[in-house]
Symmetry: C2
Subunit: 431 residues, 2 copies
């Protein structure tokens, strides 16, 4: 019997701010970081690796929160965990004291993501399957049993959910074959960080086109003049058939967002992302009503399924950017896939950072196989950096994610990378 | 010039779970705790004391988060801080890296509350005034300058806010005289914790009536039969003129809440509190529409001004239970007072716990003097425990809060109490 014997929590940080990689209007100088959770078991050869993503300071809080949650998992068997994944979510999100400092949001929720992702990884490794395949192989009843529907049953009852999953299971084998053949559609954010000068953006856009990308996202929101100039440059380089998305990273007030988006809409934007505060469901709704020719995307800071439920029920979101490390891991991300499928909105998972592409590919593939059953209007986000630190890094071909074949959830980092980037004593930081 | 030289962060916990004080349907065994922030200055006789409240495990995360925020304040002068309190909020909530692990919610927001409350305390002590009076003595322009309106200007513009504050400044001297004479209206939660047996509840209700309380709140939500029996008992003991409130602490689904509230409405409830998940603005809206004879209260877990803005704009809240330690301190709590005044909803601040009554009295008195300019339909919450640990504890007379006269925000704890209850090494925990 496989039993969890310990959880190791590790603070890993990359000094990305030195190059302005990842810079945007709200986050000018991120150091991409991970709070890593490693589940140790009584089998020395079997460990589960999960993480949550942060951008530097504050990562130590997520590490401490993983340690706070650890007693809720240590001592349980893998069989107990995997036979009741919904129960695991309830236990980690519902601890009667820790819940107070969320609830279901912020530091403790990010930490729960790391732990829950590590359990999925352990399950995948134990089963010898990449997690997208592990999930796709579950019968609808078993898949439903992994989801905690608490506080969202007014949007979808368990009965409706089961009917939906059964309906979407049809054609799964054909979709899987196509997925393995073609890879999952993606777009890239690597060209247009706010800190990059125009010539660098143009060069990167050209390189992306040559590599097969025809969907590109850039950062906006610091200066309208800059944004108009950069959008014109990239739209020109992309051609009329390329997809251009822009991301404001929450910097606008609601009325300001409406004006700014109207000014940028001339560039035929595929979506505008995070126009205002991520908690502002009704603000997003007002923007969508005011600029109805432009689609509004949000989700990378959307704390939990209850927030996504409201975005969907209020018609306040056009593109659902669920994040498997901001939400309480793959489990809650799948609850959001379920809601999005019911309300017929595309999920384009948030990625980039460190590790987010690795988990986003699983989320998108699971969406395609089990929930939405389509990839029309859907793309997983991609950013080019930091993949070399992973044991099973993403593989991109012609702007698409190739399905991973290594067992697990793809979040295991190389021991040497962890050693060098441990904060504050790894070689990269100690120097 | 007074300069912040250090911030001391302290983990203080009280073993309240041993007596089931504070038990409710979501939180069966709280150990009331405080993450304390003490601002040290270059003047040995002048320190600012703030705190945030938690219920045990997870308190260490708030302490760590206070330490993470400390560099943003250390080295600044009191004059720099008090001349731009809105800027202090922006700096603490907007740190370009720490913000990611909120944003503006959970552990980092609770920690910001402790620091911001400590700055208000320092300002009050430096000025020789209790903070309610310090704020009431500010001119409308100066008061407005303490509020960060970011992401709520679609609800109220700075111009509207100033007009409102000027309007409400009329009659302030008369209200202040009345406040000092009569005290601020309150209700008590000390009688009806979910873990208490019926006879204890009845005895406590009788004692409360004798002490002058005619407004009592009890916990519900674990069993409808129990709730019906307990409500009948207390309504009988209170008499028809007493106010009875019930608190479900988030345990219901939306449809379940509607049924349960309809069943309890026979007891003429003054309000029903936290029926569903605290993030579920639109769920609260649906409940209000379905049970329109019963008022719905929420707010103790409402993370920030953006959430309260939506509750108010969507008519999804009847009673605003702002919490000066869940929100980013008194500053953001006052932004919520402003929103509530504009949307004409009563604020009845959340209290209880440890320290929450001490700050809630300031919030209610400031609301009365500067924002709503009335105490009709308004009561501050009161719970009887743990006040003995404070240097300037609340003073209750005939069910009303007497205005504090000691300079500061009333959150300073006695050194001996801190020493005994420090976690994990204080005498109470080490034994």
């Amino acid at each position: 019997m496989t039993r969890i014997t310990a959880i190791e929590a590790i603070d890993v940080r990359y000094p990305t701010s030195r190059m302005l990689d990842g810079s945007d209007a709200m986050n000018p100088d991120p150091d991409y970081s991970a709070a890593v959770a490693v589940l140790h078991t009584n089998d020395d050869g079997l460990r589960g690796h999960g993480l949550t993503f942060t951008i530097g300071r504050g990562n130590e809080l997520c590490v401490a929160a993983i340690n706070a949650l650890a007693p809720l998992v240590i001592g349980t068997t893998l069989e107990e965990l995997t036979s009741d994944m919904a129960g695991l979510s309830r236990r980690l999100l519902g601890d009667s004291q820790i819940r107070w400092v969320g609830p279901e949001k912020g530091v403790v929720h990010l930490a729960a993501a790391a732990v829950i992702n590590a359990v999925w990884d352990l399950w995948g490794k134990h089963a010898g399957k990449p997690v997208w395949q592990l999930v796709a192989d579950l019968e609808p009843e078993a898949l439903l049993a992994t989801l905690d529907l608490r506080h969202i049953t007014d949007a979808i009852t368990p009965g409706e959910a089961l009917d939906l999953l059964k309906d979407r299971a049809r054609g799964k084998a054909q979709r899987r074959a196509r997925l393995e053949r073609e890879g999952y559609p993606a777009y890239t954010t690597s060209a247009g960080w706010l800190g990059y000068p125009d010539d660098k953006i143009l060069r990167l856009t050209g390189e992306a086109r040559s590599a097969g990308w025809n969907a590109i996202k850039i950062k906006v929101g610091r200066s309208l003049d800059d944004d108009l100039r950069r959008c014109a440059l990239i739209r020109d380089a992309l051609g009329a058939d390329g997809r251009l998305m822009v991301d404001a990273n929450q910097v606008w007030e609601v009325d300001q967002a409406i004006e700014w988006i109207r000014a940028l809409s001339q560039f035929d934007l595929w979506w505008v992302e995070e126009p205002v505060h991520p908690d502002d469901i009704l603000g997003h709704r007002r923007i969508i009503e005011a600029v109805d020719s432009v689609r509004i995307a949000t989700g990378e800071h959307c704390a939990n399924r209850v927030m996504f439920k409201q975005f969907l029920m209020a018609d306040a979101i056009d593109v659902v950017q669920a994040d498997g490390c901001r939400l309480a891991g793959l489990s809650e991300a799948m609850a959001v896939l379920l809601l999005a499928a019911k309300y017929n909105r595309p999920v384009c998972p948030h990625a980039g950072g460190v590790g987010l592409c690795e988990i986003a590919q699983h989320i998108s593939m699971i969406d395609y196989l089990c929930f939405s059953a389509t990839w029309e209007e859907r793309m997983a986000e991609h950013a080019a950096h930091l993949h070399e630190h992973f044991v099973d890094p993403i593989r991109i071909e012609k702007g698409r994610y190739l399905a991973p074949h290594v067992p697990g959830i793809s979040l295991e980092m190389k021991p040497a990378s962890i050693a060098a980037h441990r904060y504050p004593n790894g070689a990269v930081w100690a120097q």
